[in-house]
Amino acid sequence: MSRVLRISLLLAAMVTSGCGPDPWLDQPPVTLELPLTTQVLANGLTVVLVPNHAAPLITAVLAVRAGSDVEDASNNGYSHLFEHMIFQGSQAVPDASAFRDRLDALGASRNATTGVDRVTYFFTAQSSQADEALGLFAGALQQPRLASASLDKERQVVIGEFDLNESNFGFVRQRRLFQLLLGESVYRFDPLGSRDVVREVSAERLEQAHATYYVPNNALLVLSGDLTVAQGTELAQRHFGSWSEREDPALDAPAAPLPALVDGEQAVIEAPISATEIELAWRGPTEADDPEGALAGALLSSVTYQGDHIFRGLVGADGAFSATFAVYSARNLGVVRVQLSIPPGLERAVLQRLARVLKDMEAGGALDAMQLEAAKDRMFRGHLFSSSDPAQLPQLLADHWGKSSLERFQTFEDALYDIDGAAIRRFARRYLRGTPRVAVVMSSAQNIASGELDALLDEESK
């Protein structure tokens, strides 16, 4: 079934200070038309086709609900390692070098990512080469070749990826923060995986994971670019039509509850860095339980970047180098996070200022209606710009699908503009005010001792 999706590109009237009416006053909204077709193949694979002939390119994205959220301590890293193995060939092209050479010869730019909610494989190729590229991807996804030699080699690559990340102090800090926040469930928020699991996993265990999650009724295919709906339908059917439907991995089942959180848990990490880095985190809204809260949190994050929001006052000549407030929501996990980068010696002053800012934000976001509306417009603009880009749109669709459903993409504008001040206050009450908080301090010298951080924040916020 197909439709042309129309979403308004912008709004109309404005009157601004001192400048009189702006020229776009009373002009009608501009609409962006997305020729978006959604189909479900007989095997349950959802296929979205988006013709766009701006360039002789086709972008393909195949997403599978198999990120870290479906893992536990014993298999954290399977999704990520398997994502790597897809590029090691298929039953049809078992030689890894030959598989790579064929993709290289097509000039296809390709990659894959593993996230909390999904694993996403994608390529962009010239339209004349896309059929063959899609065939290679489809073969590897449905019938991968998990040879031991390839696996041993690729697990070294993933360990190299661990090392790469762990040589970044920001990653080390984040991992510790999430450990404090999520306890033994931290693996669900760690798509990179566990080093020990990756070291020891066998090909047989990966095959089992593949058999469980890599089923068409648990996947989304998006084809965008220089193709017609008829061509896209034929491509999807030919390359994915014989993929056998199997039992649904039941990802919609209620997620396992997170362990109880100990309020005020802190870690101090000494590291040879130039600034003092302080991070605070709270458990945030999830897309499954509180989609309104997730959107309200994202909007509040956006507001804190506006020049006149109180959060910006943390940065300046006598303050922090940088300060961010961010809310990230996955299907079953959510995090509210404050990050501060502070010149040594100013830690206490900045924390005292932060305490006052947080107190105001806990009371309702510390924002006015104009700031909220501007944040909505900005977020919607980003949504539209990504929608108009033939390479970005498939990723955007996969993101909405992974977190919730395709309907989330379709209804995004309504949901966004339905968020009002009351929704922001509900967010603040539920996720900030009086809720357990954890913190990590990283500094070259221990300028802030363990436990002192909370004392500083609590004292100021009373």
Binding site: M1, S2, R3, I7, L11, A12, A13, M14, V15, T16, S17, C19, P23, W24, P29, V30, L32, E33, P35, T37, T38, Q39, P51, H53, A54, A55, L57, S97, R100, D101, D104, L106, G107, S109, T124, D152, V157, G160, D163, L164, E166, S167, N168, F169, D226, V229, T233, A271, A275, Q306, G307, D308, V315, F321, M370, D377, R381, F385, S388, A391
Partner: protein, 474 residues
């Protein structure tokens, strides 16, 4: 005066909601029924663009002189978005001037004109549905905007207002200078970025004292410096405007004239035009360094090679050569041996092309000799025909991928105009991809994979500086 947002929202929402609801219903119906025979779809506002399909990027583009300012204009009928770029060919200048210009344009982007508050500026952009960005560059600075095509001229007017009434707040200046300072300071904490920065400094023959002095200059920039920077940036011969989108030429011309007419004529810009190509000025440059980061579990190696001027015939050959090198390094070090997560080679498209090599590995004793052998082979033997064929496809896909939206095409045309001096050379370049031989690619690699700098930063396994020196031929 207060902004009347509720009214604006009412207009927007009433105009869009009905259409959207019907779309959602159709989508749900499709999911429920699994209709295997979708009807033919009208392509709506996404028309076929013949330019890229014909393998060319410049078809239909024009260059105009509007009051002494170069304007590149390309109409893309029916495209929903339009892109604007204003490029400042700000040339070589001292560190203080560089920071002042950078902060000046950052303030325009984020804080807007002195006639508005920052929140009013951002509010206007949000209401217009526009994105404005500032990008500093090695050769030139860019102020860019993207917006719905029917609103392109409105966005231009906002930018014009900001440039004619530049922001002057010392508070904002301190805020943005602080963020810049942090960017510089914190990069040194990360071995991967430290390796890149140090290799770049060595290539450019800068010393640690130069870098310290640069940071010190940043903290001395005052509002007066920023005001002066606007004066030198807005020197008409140094400005290029690029517009890509469904925008009428007459409107673009009129708007640029309005901006240009208000600019003073500068008798002499105190900051000289970009120097001529420096390629080959440092023969035998073979600089290396090892930066220990004892806590890091892996090594990050970054190397830069001086390449040809971007307007040289060698440019396309080197670009293909680096694509071949990239494939070989990835295949041999990562895909065949699992010795690295990330490894590769790519060009930087500056007025003097720079070749960039990178490798992050916890096994430098095994990976670096493979990199050395791979570089040495390409200096001695021509690549194969199949490698060249793959490289052509890869580079062509990269160019098209970067140019398939108005914003992307705007950036591509601007890059080629400001880097090569002629936007039409992108099509010459695309044609060259098919005509260059393996011998020509080999010649370029032999010539340019020499003068360079390689730095390793990190920890873990043993790594000796001699292993880096081996990457650079005597």
């Amino acid at each position: 005066m207060k902004m009347l947002r509720p009214r604006a929202l009412a207009v927007r929402r009433s105009g869009a909601r009905g259409q959207r609801v019907s779309t959602v219903l159709w989508c749900l119906l499709a999911l429920a029924c699994g209709d295997p025979e979708p009807p033919t779809v009208r392509l709506g506002a996404m028309p076929t663009c013949p330019d890229l399909s014909s393998g060319c990027l410049n078809v239909g583009a024009a260059t105009l002189d509007v009051g002494g300012v170069r304007v590149i204009y390309k109409r893309t009928p029916g495209q929903p978005l339009a892109a604007l770029r204003m490029l400042f060919d700000n040339g070589t200048r001292g560190e203080r001037q560089m920071w002042a210009e950078r902060l000046a344009l950052t303030m325009v982007q984020i804080a807007g004109p002195s006639t508005r508050t920052p929140s009013s500026w951002q509010g206007e952009l949000d209401k217009l549905g526009a994105v404005v960005a500032f990008t500093p560059g090695a050769d030139y600075a860019t102020l860019s905007g993207t917006v719905a095509a029917p609103r392109a001229i409105d966005l231009w007017r906002l930018l014009r207002e900001a440039l004619r009434n530049p922001p002057q707040s010392q508070f904002q200046l301190d805020h943005f200078a602080r963020l810049e300072q942090r960017n510089v300071v914190v990069r040194g904490d990360q071995p991967q970025l430290a390796a890149q920065d140090e290799a770049w400094s060595l290539l450019m023959q800068r010393t640690p004292a130069d870098e310290t002095a640069s940071l010190a200059e940043l903290s001395t920039v005052r509002a007066g410096d920023v005001s002066q920077a606007f004066g030198t940036l807005l020197d008409k011969p140094r400005i290029t405007v690029v517009v890509v989108g469904d925008v009428l030429l007459e409107s673009v011309r009129a708007e640029v004239e309005q901006l240009v007419g208000a600019l003073p004529t500068m008798s002499a810009n105190p900051f000289p035009a970009p120097a001529a190509s420096q390629a080959g000025d440092v023969p035998g440059l073979a600089a290396t360094a090892v930066l220990p980061y004892p806590d890091a579990p892996t090594w990050h190696i970054a190397g830069y090679f001086r390449g040809p001027p971007a307007d040289s015939e060698d440019h396309a050959a080197l670009r293909l050569g680096l694509a071949i090198l990239d494939n070989r390094l990835y295949a041999r070090i990562r895909d065949e041996r699992g010795l690295a997560y990330t490894v590769g080679a790519r060009p930087y498209f500056y007025r003097e092309t720079v070749g960039y090599l990178w490798l992050s590995t916890n096994a430098p004793g095994e990976a670096l000799p493979i990199m050395q052998t791979t570089l040495a082979e390409l200096r001695v033997l021509a690549p194969t025909n199949s490698e060249l064929t793959s490289a052509r496809q890869t580079v062509r896909t990269q160019i098209f991928e970067a140019s398939d939206t108005p914003a992307g095409l705007c950036a591509t045309l601007a890059d080629w105009q400001l880097t090569v001096g002629d936007r039409t050379r992108i099509d010459t370049f695309l044609t060259q991809l098919d005509t260059l031989t393996t011998a020509r690619v080999h010649e370029s690699l032999t010539k340019f994979l020499r003068n360079g700098a390689v730095v390793a930063a990190g920890g873990g396994s043993e790594l000796a500086e001699s292993q880096l020196q081996a990457l650079l031929p005597p």
